[in-house]
């Protein structure tokens, strides 16, 4: 029986990749460990090795093909005594290995119809109405960009306009970022301004904070915000409080950025959402964008400003593409929510990757005749509760969606604000959809249920609308 060689998942979050180059051709004999092909993931170009030995019977996917889904058969391996004529439709072929399937349970999608991460949001939700984004003048053209590229562009643009801006962190320079967010910055700005640090989060967070007190404008990349726990003293006790403690004399214009929240199958110590933690701290600004446009516009504002900013990104969103306005200096003010979808029956409030569940739920609810207004907070400190209150005055119902833990959460704060400021408008108790109150488990099925799900958002909306 012939063996199919499948497109491998080469990172925890990879769902598809580019088959850049074949290093074998049909008829070649290969043995275990031979390099078969080069595959480009969203982060890097990786060599793909043979597991089994045999002869390459047929190459199914040509070199240069983009968007090859994980687990797609890319070649057929013939065992001894087999020939190309043994290859048929492939129905009999056995998978070459039990590849860690990105769509098995690690996927964010809780429906069986897996949606690739690169799906444009336009496919599932209406385009954001330009009227909701006064930063974008009429007639502005847009280009499709990943969140990763948008973040990089924001940094590059600000580094071009201000010599005091520099980037430091683990692997940000020569490696171009553990998640490739700083791609190209070393080439353009050099080692003075794009600085690889030792693995020393507490130290470099403090050092960057000191540099900010010394009039520079550091961007600190944490490889993930899990590691910022080593540095949280400087974020809270130094960066956030120094302006106040100095009676307004001292500015600390530092940006702490990096991926936050669960990625995929990396378990308890690498999967947690710090939104509610940092949102509690006076003296900090906290942004947690969902779209590429917001990632770019908010990061530019963060870098330009004199207030320390915690900028919470998401690994699973890095590769997602969105429409980004082509403007010279697209900066979005903090404290202004974006209304992604207008609706009448319920207000769904979310931010960051929670928006994915919110928008998916809104789309499915629309098919059931429930019209949801979907609000992306974008920044958690300051938080645009005014937009939420105005929406709830119209819909009289609210569901919040976030990946973090429930006690206490951003959602519980919003519930409190609504109770105090929109009590008479509420026709149902606010429901908070959150991650479960457990450390993140590793097992695929458990992880899926530990995260907030689209089904839970739908159920919550049906509960508050009494449907």
């Amino acid at each position: 029986m012939t063996t199919e060689i499948l497109m491998p998942a080469l990172s925890p979050t990879m769902e598809e990749g580019t088959l850049a180059k074949w290093l074998v051709k049909e008829g070649d004999e290969v043995s275990s460990g031979d390099i078969l092909a080069e595959i480009e993931t969203d982060k890097a170009t990786m060599e793909f090795e043979a597991v089994d030995e045999g002869t390459i019977g047929k190459i199914l996917i040509d070199a240069g093909t983009e968007g090859v889904k994980v687990n797609t058969p890319i070649a057929v391996l013939l065992e001894e005594g087999e020939s190309a004529s043994d290859i048929d439709s492939g129905a009999k072929a056995a998978p070459a290995s039990e590849a860690p399937a990105a769509d098995s349970g690690a996927s964010l999608d809780d429906t069986d119809t897996a949606k690739p991460m690169s799906t444009q949001p336009a496919a599932s939700v209406p385009e954001p109405e330009p009227v909701e984004d006064p930063e974008v003048p009429e007639g502005t053209t847009f280009k499709s960009q990943t969140v990763r590229e948008a973040l990089r562009d924001a940094m590059a643009e600000e580094m071009r306009s201000d010599e005091a801006v520099f980037v430091m962190g683990e692997e940000v320079a020569e490696y171009e970022g553990a998640y490739k967010v700083t791609q190209g910055l070393l080439d353009e700005f050099g080692a003075k301004r794009v600085i690889d640090t030792p693995i020393t989060e507490h130290g470099f967070a403090g050092l960057a904070t000191g540099a900010a007190m010394g009039t520079l404008r550091p961007i600190v990349e944490f490889m993930t915000f899990n590691f910022a726990m080593q540095a949280i003293d400087h974020i809270l006790n130094t960066a956030a409080k120094t302006r106040y403690m100095s009676g307004g004399q001292m500015s600390v214009p530092v940006v702490f950025r990096g991926p936050n929240g669960a990625a995929a199958r990396v378990a308890a110590q690498h999967s947690q959402d710090y939104a509610a933690w940092y949102a509690q701290i006076p003296g900090l600004h906290v942004a947690m964008p969902y779209s590429a446009a917001d990632a770019k516009g908010l990061l530019k504002t963060a870098i330009k400003g004199d207030t320390p900013v915690v900028f919470l990104e998401n690994e699973l969103l890095y590769g997602q593409s969105f429409e980004v306005p082509e403007l010279d200096d697209y900066a979005i003010p903090f404290g202004k929510a974006r209304i992604w979808q207008k609706g009448d029956d319920v207000t769904i409030v979310s931010f960051g990757i929670g928006m994915k569940y919110a928008l998916e739920a809104a789309e499915l609810l629309g098919k059931d005749g429930i019209s949801a207004e979907v609000i992306d907070l974008r920044t958690l400190r300051p938080m645009d509760t005014k937009t939420v209150i105005e929406s709830v005055k119209k819909t009289n119902r609210c569901v919040t969606v976030e990946e973090g833990w429930p006690t206490p959460s951003i959602g519980s704060y919003i519930s409190s604000v609504l109770m105090q400021q929109a009590f008479d408008y509420l026709d149902a108790p606010v429901i908070n959809c959150t991650g479960k109150d457990v450390p993140m488990p590793y097992a695929a099925n458990l992880e899926k249920h530990a995260l907030v799900t689209t089904d839970e958002v739908i159920e919550a909306v049906k509960t508050v609308t009494y449907k």
């Binding site: 640090t197 020393t200 403090g206 540099a211 130094t238 302006r243 009676g247 004399q249």
Partner: protein, 329 residues
């Protein structure tokens, strides 16, 4: 009276000696007054006095140039006075008044002066160490030749972020002088009960950082060591460590009963090593000043400190509006 033990004073001018005497005495009298105001309930919270350690900051400030920076821990009053901050503003911050350097919002442990390049005043043990390296990083980045003095105690020397900072400071050749003020007690824990390292400055060797031990009770020795360290930094050779062997006469903070050491130990240090008495002896023995001259200095200092205390009592409490200011840019 202490026996003068410093033999290297011959080439120090009368003016310099008088200046050191004056500066150290200002710190001591200021701290004594702060202790008094604390006892009267005019100063609250934590208040860590610098009495006994005066030679460290006065000697290093004598070696520093305009534009050099300094950052330290919560035992910071001496550093502020030594770099020229106004005693009135410092004392009024201790009393939590509007006229304080932080408008009363920082207190004893959290004061800053952009004008005098004093970057705090940090309440978390060891946190000022990477901050100091960051200030030095900024100077190197900006291409000037300024140096940052980063002060910390023997207790902070055991913090992980100090090791992390040593590594980065040497890796990037940052112009920072790490000043370990080894006053021999981390709160109530004697150095020998917290580490088996024979000396703290030698830990720098693990990162390739040069350094030395200094008699931190001898202002002239401190100044000489400071000049050497600054020259090292300004020459682009990276960081330097000075371990100042010093001693605090008072408790860790105002609420410290100091049961961890004997009265005799403190008295012996005061009798034999007092930094102010040492300079006083040099002035008198060298016939640079008479008893009357020094009395005049004492009187002048007393006047300054009394005025500072008066200002700190008279200055109003901050307006309630101040609760909500200076949080965001």
């Amino acid at each position: 009276m202490a026996t003068a033990k410093s033999a290297k004073k011959s080439n120090t001018s009368k003016e310099e000696l008088l200046e050191y005497y004056r500066e150290m005495l200002l710190i001591r009298r200021f701290e004594e007054k702060a202790g008094q105001l604390y006892g009267m309930g005019l100063i609250g919270g934590f208040c860590h006095l610098y009495i006994g350690q005066e030679a460290v900051v006065v000697g290093l400030e004598a070696a520093a140039d305009e534009g050099d920076k300094r950052v330290t821990s919560y035992r910071d009053h001496g550093h502020m006075l030594a770099c020229g901050m106004d005693p009135k503003g410092v004392m009024a911050e201790l009393t939590g008044r509007e006229g304080g350097y932080s408008k009363g919002k920082g207190g004893s442990m959290h004061m800053f002066s952009t004008e005098k390049h004093f970057y705090g005043g940090h309440g978390i043990v060891g946190a000022q160490v990477p901050i100091g390296a960051g200030l030095a990083f900024a100077d190197k980045y900006l291409g000037n030749d300024r140096v940052t003095f980063t002060y910390f105690g023997d207790g902070a020397a055991n913090q992980g972020q100090v090791a992390e900072t040593y590594n980065m400071a040497e890796l990037w050749d940052l112009p920072v002088v790490f000043v370990i003020e080894n006053n021999q007690y981390a709160m109530g824990t004697a150095v020998k009960r917290s580490t088996k390292s024979p000396s703290l400055w030698e830990r720098g060797a693990a990162y390739g950082i040069e350094g030395e031990e200094v008699d931190g009770m001898d202002v002239l020795a401190v100044k000489a060591a400071g000049e050497k360290a600054i020259a090292h930094c300004r020459a682009g050779k990276g960081p330097y460590i000075l371990e100042m062997k010093t001693y605090r006469y008072r408790g860790h903070s105002m609420s410290d009963p100091a049961k961890y050491r004997t009265r005799e130990e403190v008295q012996k240090m005061r009798d034999e090593k007092d930094p102010i008495e040492n300079v006083r002896d040099l002035l008198l023995q060298g016939k640079h000043a008479s008893e009357d001259d020094l009395k005049a200095v004492d009187k002048e200092i007393k006047q300054i400190v009394n005025e500072a205390a008066e200002f700190a009592r008279e200055s109003p409490e901050p307006s309630l509006d101040e609760l909500w200011t200076d949080i965001y840019a």
